[in-house]
Point group: C2
Chain length 382, copies 2
């Protein structure tokens, strides 16, 4: 029986790669739902090819065009945020791949878990913003999270067959981004164009900026905390510019296990879809001899204050990681619009974390309110 899957965010970078995985293992999967934010043309193309039951299009202005194309092949079309929410609640699937970008991904993760569905999670905001709510939903429904991020997939792969109590440390690797060696005195002059040239992975714009500030690594620490249930002191970061070791675990006898590979998101995506199996694929193989060397450095907390902000937010917990994440997201958009400097991003985040009304156990509606507050806070920053 093919696995029935729903792909939320099928026209983005992760979504498109997920469909390549589906192409690779055709008979293993049946696509039931696809959703897009704005890219209605690609959504139509995907729907014509994979024939889902329904598609969702968040930006509804092109809904007519989508409907006229897909009604012929009997594909239901849902629109607006409500359409996405509706699709994320449906339980006629085996697995929901949440490949949505940003805060918009949080509610669909909770919906899918509350519907008792396992979620292959690429959307890190779900855990960063609502880690405790996600855990609660998982526990109540017995639904599982399968990490899609390359770092968390690496840790997940390394943990297979191990007794969790034997694991002493999670070691996340990060490339260090494009500004690892740039003179720190010129950081305030970094332009969006420069920051978008990421050396190793081919990703969306928001995530690429997060990689340049290393907030990406910060968010991953928080994600790892919730995914694997390890303490802040048990999570380390190592800068590894080649991005070949995707992350590691250290066991209490000193043995270290690592997962390696060429930087290709299809590998962790496929693993999340085929778990616990590693199914065949003829993608590029890692050639260590051709690679020649791997290097390792300490993260530079002066250049990249975002990492420390993330660690600090995890020590405070409650609403702090959520505010860190929201303020960062809006600050990144302001940076991409050339409204603020690169170095303003962590400043805004730090101020927002310090100034918001902290709560210990925010509900979903508390988090929604925080989004409004943080957005206004970031907007007002000059």
């Amino acid at each position: 029986m093919p696995k029935k899957i729903s792909i939320l965010g099928s026209t983005g970078s992760i979504g498109r790669n997920a469909l390549k995985v589906v192409d690779n293992l055709k008979s293993d999967f049946e696509i039931i739902y696809l959703t897009a934010n704005t890219n209605y043309q690609l959504l139509i193309e995907q729907a014509l090819r994979y024939k889902p039951k329904a598609v969702g299009l968040v930006e509804s202005k092109n809904a007519k065009e989508v409907e006229s194309q897909l009604n012929k092949i009997n594909v239901e079309v849902l629109t607006g945020k409500e359409g996405l929410i509706e699709i994320s609640k449906r339980n006629d699937v085996d697995l929901v791949l949440n490949a949505l970008v940003g805060i918009a991904g949080m509610k669909p993760t909770l919906n899918a878990l509350n519907a008792g569905k396992n979620v292959a999670l690429s959307n890190k905001e779900s855990l960063v913003m609502a880690g405790q709510l996600v855990k609660n939903a998982q526990q109540k429904k017995g639904a599982k999270l399968y990490p899609v991020d390359s770092e968390h997939s690496a840790i997940w792969q390394c943990l297979q067959g191990e007794n969790k109590t034997d694991v002493s440390k999670l070691i996340l690797t990060g490339s260090g981004g494009p500004f690892r060696e740039r003179n720190i005195n010129t950081f305030s002059e970094i332009t969006p164009e420069e920051a978008l040239k990421h050396p190793n992975w081919n990703m969306g714009n928001k995530i690429t900026i997060d990689s340049a500030t290393m907030m990406n690594k910060g968010l991953e620490i928080i994600e790892a905390y919730w995914l694997f249930d390890f303490g802040v002191e048990e999570i380390d970061i190592v800068v590894h510019p080649q991005s070949i070791i995707h992350s590691m675990i250290e066991l209490q006898d000193g043995s270290v296990k690592a997962q390696l590979g060429v930087p290709d998101m299809k590998v962790p995506i496929q693993y999340a879809l085929t778990y616990p199996r590693h199914k065949p694929a003829d993608w590029e193989r890692l050639d260590l001899i051709k690679l020649g060397k791997m290097t390792f450095e300490e993260p530079d907390y002066e250049r990249f204050p975002s990492i420390k902000l993330a660690f600090d937010s995890l020590k405070k917990l409650g609403t702090t990681p959520a505010v860190l994440n929201i303020a960062n997201e809006f600050a990144v958009y302001r940076f991409l619009n050339n409204e603020i400097k690169f170095t303003d991003i962590p400043k805004i985040v730090e101020q927002a974390c310090g100034k918001h009304d902290w709560m210990e156990s925010p509900t979903l509606s508390d988090l929604q309110n925080l989004i409004g507050w943080s957005k206004d806070f970031v907007k007002s920053y000059k």
Copy 2:
């Protein structure tokens, strides 16, 4: 209940490290047997400390001294090769650690497996010489082999939790030995003293010379073949001078899993004794930042013809790997005695493999005969 263990070869490098592991996890183990080849003083010391039921001493000329010391504490003393053989057959233990060096380790492995005992195997000759006989004994008795070699332990650790059919390749790493960068034209002048300076691991003399010729890696290929049941084409070698990645597996989706650590034999020994758990130990931890870099190279088959000889022997199977191993062992001893050149070692091995009377399914007595033939062959080499 503590695990009852027998350590064959307790005064050698692996044996002494195994006792450090026992010290580390005191209440987990009870030492039932210890055996030594010649080092009777250390054997006495160990027996006084760990109070086994019996000890074995192969070289019997100091047996009186051992008996007089150990009779007071009621420790039985067995002597000669027969004593070792007798101890290897006893079944009042949970696990036999075979840390014997060289050909002498083969029969004790078979004895322990035939007694239905799991064997933590450091003695690679058991598999290289008698791979098929070992497999037969395992299958008949349902006894397991736990690798102790750092490379095979790494592969074993990486295989945990994986489906064997998902694994496409085993990748053994090797330091390349002390002569990786030495001018090949001076190889015939290499002295035993130079060859005994091994950069990474602290091992016995025979194994250190094997590491210098890279025959060690060749023997490990054969060992991996029998331990993990992978084909010759599915086993690769990568030279990694820092010896931090101890070996890897490649899965069929392109994901690679590696086991890493500082070069410390206590880690794989402890894992073999505590499998499937990684129990606490406060040994030196791997610090990738301090390490800074890892490098990878192709093995140089011209400098190190032994690797190719080993691959070839595996394609022929039958008696060929056994002759490869025996001829190598005696050639190494002749080299250590300054009787032959460093470059003669692979030449002798190649000739012995080519000239012996090949048999498809040698019995133990066939192998014993081959030992005599090979010894004579190596002796006659000028």
